[in-house]
Amino acid sequence: MGKSVGIVESKIFHCKDELALVCGNKLSEFELIYETYGKLNNNKTNAIFIPHALSGNHHIAGKYHKNDKYSGWWNNMVGPAKPIDTNKYFVIGINNLGGNDGSTSAKSINPKTKKVWGSSFPILTVKDWVASQKKLINSLGIEKLYAIVGGSLGGMQAMQWSIDFPDAIEKILCIAAAPSLTAQNIAFNEVARQAILQDDEFYKGNFYQQKTKPKKGLRIARMLGHITYLSNDSMDKKFGRKLIQGKYNYNFQQNYEIESYLNYQGDKFAMTFDANTYLRMTKALDYFDLEKNFKNKLSKVFAKIKSKYLIISFSSDWRFPPSRSKEIVKALLDNNINVTYAEVEAETGHDAFLLESEHYHNTVRNYLRS
């Protein structure tokens, strides 16, 4: 099933243009860290941009060095002869503004005060991300992207692109996304945020100066997140009621394998992820609402778009279920947009968009080729 893109390296895009943000603030300049795979053709018509989801980044495929333990987060989808074929396409990954992995964020120095932004870093929205990404894409000399492929929060950015820059993308592949969050989605995000905000090590977002980080809060936030990414069935299949040592301990140590798994995921995440980024990412999700400026009519949102759409949902995804994708499909149909919709049978919940499955991958591959 295809090879890896091999050893890759990140690049920095420094934008000196002022960026006016939806919240009313401005960034006088900013940096975005990004990676590219494959070759841009002479006419610059084969570029595919892959925006990332909540905890993702610009490192989509390949490894940084030979002994690198992990590949990029979508290595099964992007590479030579893979569904997003780097022999054919020039693939771009960008760490979002405010992101965790090297783009300008709360960890960066505020050029005005020469101090770390910390809590004063603005809250960004999907629209702001898209505006900043557009500047980077332009800097590469690309006027029109062949496609944007986004899953989850990445799918939301893909949709926003087609609305804000209708002439700049030929095809949108919007996977496991939704036109907005439900009350339940926001509720989960709020619990995650409260876990961080109430951690004694958070220091109202200025924990960098204290040389510490709110690991306890981040752990809980991530554990909660993980539960919502999986389905009841897939958790049952993977862990069931399996015990770590085969017997009940009658104490509050980890007893079940699912507990061990969640704690491991929480620890791993808390080590590497920035709390201010996590808080802001969840807010960007909450505030994403395509209908808001269109009199709450989703069909009006797509009135001026020109991109073709492929919408994919997964049967067991209860975070952004098929019914939410169908709302998008209906709104696109109302506008006579060229749209294709696939509802993929999968038992792995929201996470299915990151996992390899033949039908899902063929669908993406065929759509990009057609």
Binding site: V329, V344, H359, N366
Partner: protein, 192 residues
């Protein structure tokens, strides 16, 4: 392209019109209509394999269960809606007929004619019919609502649908006389 059903259906379709194909399989008909008549529109399919093939055929294909109705489409959204070789596999036939009337001006329906003489002969011999148009065993067939051409006329009358034109085929050859006996497939253009 020598599929007479495709050619006939194409004759019934206005150039540059909007077409919905229910149960469009791999999208071959829509692809043909796009090339011949510059149509736009969508195909509806349920199986994952056909979704992949439809995408390859460059048609807009929506994965949906027809039994759930066509609520994603507004009233009179299409010029023509096609139900090709799918009627006999539907649970709720009256519901899909009503939905087709709602979303389009013209309706095209085709189905295997249960009254075809070879089918009648097999029943006379005490067996359920099997043929290239009805290839399944009785216990695993998706075709749960088989009818004859005469039965279909009765349903059209009940649904106040007028037969504008029709074509009967046996092994891709047109049948002119005694069609309910000699035609293995019937294709009908209906209007309201």
């Amino acid at each position: 392209m020598n599929r007479l059903d495709f050619i006939k259906i194409s004759e019934w379709i206005e150039p540059n019109s909007k077409v919905l194909d229910l149960g469009c399989a791999d999208g071959a008909l829509l692809k043909y209509l796009q090339a011949e008549k510059m149509t736009s529109g969508y195909g509806i399919e349920i199986t994952p394999e056909n979704i992949e093939k439809g995408i390859k055929n460059k048609i807009n294909i929506i994965q949906m269960n027809l039994e759930d109705g066509l609520s994603v489409f507004d009233n009179q959204f299409f010029d023509t809606v096609i139900l090709s070789q799918t009627l006999q596999a539907m649970v709720n036939i009256e519901k899909i007929m009503d939905e087709m009337k709602r979303v389009a001006k013209n309706i095209i329906v085709s189905f295997p004619n249960f009254g075809y003489w070879k089918n009648r002969l097999q029943i006379l011999n005490g067996k359920m019919p099997k043929s290239s148009d009805l290839p399944h065993e009785w216990y695993n067939t998706p075709n749960i609502h088989l009818c004859t051409v005469e039965d279909f006329y009765d349903l059209c009358e009940k649904k106040r649908l007028i037969i504008e034109d029709q074509l009967f085929l046996t092994k891709n050859q047109p049948i002119k006389y005694f069609s309910n006996l000699r035609g293995s497939i019937g294709i009908f253009k209906l209007s309201k």
